[in-house]
């Protein structure tokens, strides 16, 4: 039983991370129909910004700030202006393919220009375990869980309680009407991208201490985020959270109880099952179609 609880918590921690990454993914889709196949690499990259800063002597928190800043500039602003904007009019697929190329570009760039080896990454949390009710829970997992869930909760509150947040939601649901109502739709979309950049930077700082900073980190995370977003319901931020947590837990439990050989199929199996029975995801709403 203790084992199960430990797995559950670890699963929630992983899931919280997935949720973090999936939320940004969903935001980009909602506001601009962007499917970002480079999302995993977006999570991989900021850690390297931070490492570079630390290699030049910057203390942890400064490096973190630099990482977030660079992430906002490159993965937020530059990404939107240089890649997304020119291609938006032509439908979903060309942009999706371009982000696939981007994913490869970022991965190979880090591998070539920084290192092909895994680099250790510091964490503000101690590496020991905490004992709660006879179960060993790592401080790391807790840190990830708390940080990720806080970020997501803050985001949710921000989206539903602030004026800008509600404007963003409106722009996402119906950009044409939003524009007619005078909302600065372009800017709101930019905010969505910047938000994503911030979220992935946070995720990067959280995941790198555990898995070490490596150029290939993006692969599994990217796929997980994609699946989490869909399972949750592609058109709701809340759904991304639900999807992420669910996926993390199922994956961890599945890894322990299901044969090693087919473990990789678990996330996709979950995906297909959910889609078949609830086509809009667990939390999603049916998209309105204009006839």
């Amino acid at each position: 039983m203790a084992n199960f609880v430990a797995l559950l918590i670890a699963g929630l921690a992983t899931g919280a991370l997935y949720a973090l990454v999936a939320v940004g993914f969903t935001l980009m889709w909602q506001t601009s129909q962007t499917i970002n196949f480079a999302q995993g690499e977006f999570v991989m990259l900021p850690a390297f910004f931070m490492l570079a800063a630390m290699n030049h002597g910057a203390p942890y928190w400064v490096a973190l700030a630099i990482g977030v800043g660079l992430s906002l500039a490159i993965l937020g602003l530059a990404f939107k202006r240089l890649l997304v904007d020119p291609m938006l009019r032509h439908g979903v697929l060309p942009l999706a393919i371009a982000t696939m190329a981007l994913s490869s570009f970022l991965k190979e760039s880090v591998k070539t220009f920084y290192s092909a080896e895994a680099s250790p990454f510091p964490s503000p949390a101690p590496s020991s375990d905490l004992r709660v009710l006879g179960v060993a829970v790592s401080w790391q997992s807790l840190a990830v869980l708390v940080a990720a869930l806080s970020a997501v909760t803050l985001l949710q509150l921000g989206l539903s309680r602030t004026r800008i947040g509600r404007q963003m939601q409106a722009a996402a649901q119906n950009p044409t009407v939003a524009q007619i109502l005078g909302l600065p739709v372009e800017r709101l979309i930019l905010y969505a991208f910047l938000l994503n950049a911030a979220l992935v930077a946070l995720a990067s700082a959280l995941v790198s201490p555990i898995y070490l900073a490596k150029f290939s980190n993006g692969e599994t995370l990217g796929q997980a985020a994609f699946i989490a977003a869909i399972v949750g319901g592609f058109n709701q931020v809340r759904g991304a959270v639900v999807g992420g947590l669910l996926l993390g837990v199922v994956e961890n439990l599945g890894a322990a109880y299901i044969s090693d050989a087919y473990r990789d199929a678990i996330p996709l199996f979950v995906l297909v099952v959910v889609i078949l029975f609830r086509p809009n995801g667990l939390v999603g709403r049916a998209e309105e179609r204009t006839v």
């Binding site: 697929l93 190329a101 570009f105 996709l268 297909v272």
Partner: protein, 332 residues
């Protein structure tokens, strides 16, 4: 397809290219012949995907898996002494059937959920290839896949097999061209351009979409059956999601929905490593940058760019024609 009459220039260019393709292999050495064969095989797979994506408007992330299905079918049969023709037939039939089976429930749920189901299938197929060693040789795969003989002539020499692949490509292209020009092709185009309107005209969009996907998958299988003897060794890593994504990229970069798109896309995918060979370490980075750049410049692919220009000219001509016809239509 690209609108009305292809024009004399296009036909002449086409014949020149075809002639070049027939003659060129004679001047190539082993590696060059391998590239030509690889290009032919990839084009067939990309053509299939183009049918699904470019004509029926469905995203398939499993084309690579179907290539795998075809490759393993061919490998298993031919290494047990069965003739290549049988292997090809199985590859086609099996891929078609699996495609239909995947598509049937997926399309019932929601139109774009085929993408997810194919994603799942892609992973599942890879896992089966890797784990079911009794059938597929597991991690080690199947080695020594023989090349066929045609009327007693062995296709084993690189030159012969290159011509074999080119001939297969020609056949597949002819069949696909026929399909696209038939009423089926018209229905495919309709359901891509405007499924709502198509339905209101009696087009059973679901059935045609399913057909396009199943036929596209079958072409993937055919490509696989040709691929196996080409490389001789069939192993799981060759048929991962990466291949599916690569094929997708070929279709988009070449120009989705254009008949020649896959030809161009496959050319770029196969030749890029060669052209970028000088920058060995940076080849992948440059290739990725190339793809991104191409797409930013022309999201509708290379042929999309060409078409835009041609459309521009045709619109001007039609405008002139309309002006000349005004009196007979009663417009003021």
């Amino acid at each position: 397809m690209t609108g009305a009459a292809p024009g004399r220039i296009a036909i002449a260019a086409g014949l020149a290219v075809a002639a070049a393709l027939i003659v060129a292999p004679l001047f190539l050495r082993r590696y060059g012949l391998y590239l030509v064969s690889d290009w032919a095989v990839m084009t067939i797979a990309a053509m299939g995907l183009n049918l699904t994506l470019g004509y029926a408007g469905q995203v398939s992330l499993a084309q690579g898996a179907f290539v795998g299905v075809g490759a393993y079918s061919a490998a298993i049969l031919t290494t047990h002494g069965w003739p290549f023709a049988t292997a090809m037939a199985l590859a086609l039939a099996l891929s078609f059937a699996v495609g239909w089976a995947l598509g049937y429930p997926a399309l019932r749920v929601r139109h774009h959920y085929l993408a997810f189901v194919t994603l799942a299938f892609s992973t599942l197929a890879f896992l089966v290839f890797r784990n079911e060693a009794w059938l597929t040789g597991g991690v080690e795969g199947i080695d020594g896949v023989p090349r066929p003989s045609l009327f007693g002539w062995s296709m084993r020499p690189p030159l012969a097999y290159a011509y074999f692949c080119l001939a297969a490509l020609a056949l597949a292209a002819a069949a696909t061209a026929w399909l696209i020009r038939s009423p089926w092709g018209r229905a495919f185009l309709a359901l891509r351009e405007n499924p709502l309107r198509a339905q209101s005209l009696g087009v059973d969009t679901r059935r045609y979409t399913l057909l396009a996907f199943a036929i596209g998958s079958a072409l993937g299988g055919a490509a696989g059956a040709l691929y196996a003897p080409l490389v001789g060794l069939v192993e799981p890593p060759a048929f991962t999601l990466a291949l599916s994504l690569n094929l997708l990229m070929m279709v988009i970069v070449g120009g989705s929905g254009y008949f020649l798109g896959p030809f161009l896309g496959a050319l770029i995918a196969v030749m890029a490593p060669e052209w970028l060979r000088a920058w060995e370490n940076y080849y992948l980075i440059l290739y990725a940058a190339l793809v991104m750049g191409l797409l930013v410049i022309s999201p509708t692919g290379i042929l999309g760019l060409v078409d835009r220009y041609a459309l521009h000219r045709m619109a001007a001509e039609a405008s002139a024609a309309r002006t000349a016809l005004k009196p007979s239509i009663g417009e003021s």
